[in-house]
């Protein structure tokens, strides 16, 4: 019984061993598998933040009274602003803003105090830099918030009679880093897997060893399996390393089940490795393969809900196109398991499309392989 099984799977096992050695043997390719993802994890999670801090702002205060100065002080002491520049006239202000010395400016007119005392809702002008739309919107939000809570000279404001109790579930401090890391857990292993699987076949074609694979008694299914399993293995390994770093160094909470997470990661990377194989089945050289990988990766990342939430993608057809992107579904699962402890029903709901994508790709790969034999 055991003998029989062994005989049946021996060719496949030998192929898998060979694929493993091919990658593992070379010191540089070993480094290239593990170093960039870890490096990227660190750079991305520190660099990528949508909070705006250390803002340099300008003030043009025509009013220059106690109240307006107190308002400026209020802004200066808030945690978002790092430095306030004072300007004498509009021209100076414009120059500073043009040259990006400041990110935003506050213009207080000379009737500010008068109006304020008359309870006539005085206006201030927030001028922000439209070259960076997102930051300018956020900075305006900060200033507005400070303005609406501003109560000088011990005055009591009684404007807001409704008390909003805001609770951010799953991420109480709205840490952007948690979001980035839980997304990177899908994206980084994906990069490894797709490069490995797309290049391995193209390399064999370039070096002429692909013929060797075709001439030994291996079935097409076995060749596909052999070409997929090792990238998959390294991808999952990468995923686990990133997970451990995130938990122990970045202290991200992990609420769901680890097993479920790894299971989903496997299914996801399975689909990605098939896509990589599909790409390499089409290309003659490693260079072409690599370029096609780029052509795939960009849309996949941008239309996954990572750079922008799916519901914000404007042309509706582009939004609909995201259903062929396995990464989109995995990001839901990844965030779901890590931050939300999402229940199995929803995980299954997102695993299903990934699975369907894999099956379709698998059949396409098989067809291309069969036709490849001219």
């Amino acid at each position: 019984m055991f003998e029989k099984l062994k005989r049946k799977y021996l060719p496949l096992i030998s192929l898998i061993k060979k694929e493993f050695h091919t990658i593992w043997q070379d010191k540089r390719s070993r480094a290239v598998i593990f170093l960039p993802p870890v490096l990227q994890l660190f750079v991305f999670s520190y660099a990528a933040t949508l909070d705006i801090e250390n803002i340099r702002a300008g003030v043009l205060n025509e009013d220059n009274s106690e109240i307006s100065r107190e308002f400026i002080r209020e802004i200066q002491t808030s945690r978002y602003f790092s430095k306030i520049y004072y300007f004498k006239n509009n021209k100076e202000l414009k120059k500073a803003l043009d040259e990006q010395k400041i990110k935003a400016a506050i213009y207080i007119k000379n009737d500010f105090t008068k109006k304020y005392k008359m309870k006539d809702n005085p206006e201030i002008l927030i001028i922000s830099d439209g070259r960076k739309t997102n930051s300018s919107r956020i900075i305006a939000g900060y200033i507005t918030e400070i303005a609406s809570n501003f109560a000088p000279l011990g005055q009591n404001i009684n404007k807001n009679i409704i008390n909003f109790v805001i609770r951010n579930k799953f991420n109480p401090n709205l840490s952007y880093r948690w979001f980035i890391i839980s997304s990177l857990m899908g994206i980084l292993p994906m990069t490894t897997v797709i490069l490995l699987s797309a290049l391995s076949l193209a390399r064999e074609k370039e070096q002429g060893t692909f013929d060797e694979l075709l001439i030994v008694p291996l079935k097409i299914e076995e060749i596909i399996a052999g070409k997929i399993l090792i990238p998959l293995f390294f991808g999952v390994l990468n995923g686990v390393i990133i997970l451990l770093i995130s938990i122990f160094i970045f202290k991200i909470p992990f609420l769901g089940s680890i097993f479920l997470y790894i299971f989903s990661l496997c299914i996801f990377l399975f689909s990605i490795s098939l896509i990589g194989l599909f790409i390499s089945a089409f290309s003659r050289t490693q260079q072409q393969s690599m370029l096609l990988v780029f052509v795939f990766m960009f849309p996949a990342m941008m239309l996954s809900g990572y750079t922008t939430p799916i519901e914000n993608i404007t042309p509706l057809f582009l939004q609909k196109m995201t259903i062929i992107n396995p990464l989109r579904f995995f990001l839901v699962i990844s965030k779901g398991i890590i931050l939300k402890n999402m229940n199995f029903y929803y995980i299954f709901l997102n695993l299903l499309p990934i699975f369907i994508i894999s099956i379709i790709t698998l059949f396409s790969v098989k067809t291309v392989f069969k036709n490849n034999q001219k």
Partner: protein, 373 residues
Amino acid sequence: MMNKNIIFTFVIKEFRQITRDFSSILIAFVLPLILLFLFGFGINFDTNTIKIGIIDENNTILSRDIKESLNNTKFLDCIYIKNEIEANKLLSGGIIRGYAVIPVNFTKEFKKNSNPKIQIITDGSEPNTAKFVSSYIKGSVESYLEYEKIKSGKKSNSSIISPILRIWYNPSLKSVYFILPGSISIIMTLTGAILTALVIAREWERGTMEAILTTEITKFEFLISKYIAYFILSMLSVIFCFFIIIAIFKVPYIGSYFFLFLISSLFMLTSIGTGLFISTIAKDQFIAGQMAGTISFMPSMMLSGLIYEIDSMPFIIRMISCIIPAKYYVSSISSLFLTGNVYKILIISSIYLFAFAAVVFLLTYFCTKEVIE
């Protein structure tokens, strides 16, 4: 030192090779198109409709009006939910991005003027959306009550500063106006670096380098020719991109075209230089590809200030971003498009980019070998 005929011959040869390789055309013209399209639509901070839930435990005229008012804002799409258990399920399943709870005694408290509560629960796993959800709900409830107050003739008893927002350079605050010109930097690192990352390695691999080295061409002429060929190709691609941005996406352009060309050329030289440099030191294609991605493409995406604000990053990463050419290019290009010729930015950037390009050229020059081994 330079022989024009030799350089001319070499450039012609490069062009013939480029036009015959479908993958370089793909990288130079098709990929930029896809990227522009995605940047134009995909990276979008202008929020569209967000799905939220409302639990109305109060169920009075007032609470129903509030519900109605929430549903009427164009940013929110409300569904009514019976209880919190269900709401939490939908929230964790990612179906809704947040929900508001109007408690049982809301109307009673409101009429008593004793600060009634409204609970807003958001999905923190999408921090950006979560912020929008809470501020939208807050804003629309407040403005509804304000409106009611004005209708009933009440006047507030204290002064509120009312800020008015003026967005300069981009009054309608369209993020594509910033993202699209900025994304050219990413496209340029792609066409510049990825395309050239393999070209010298390939000459060695195919044995042509050996043959070239025994002819009269010098190392300097060899490198200059490579620069010229890929410079022309990439600049064509860049002009093509600018045309699409201005003509198709209708992004306004108010700067001078001379500076646009100058600054783009300088940036392109840094990018091609980086690619050629990688090509002289990495002989394996896989390694070259990974290096091009890690040292040229990733920084220009992450650390150029295009997507993430540089000022908010930790000190060390801010320092690193200062040596990255893309940072200078992004700020110049967005100024040129939206502000006009800001000479200080343009001059500093030009000088830096020129210096960077020169250093990379020298590095490449000294790393290019004239003998085997």
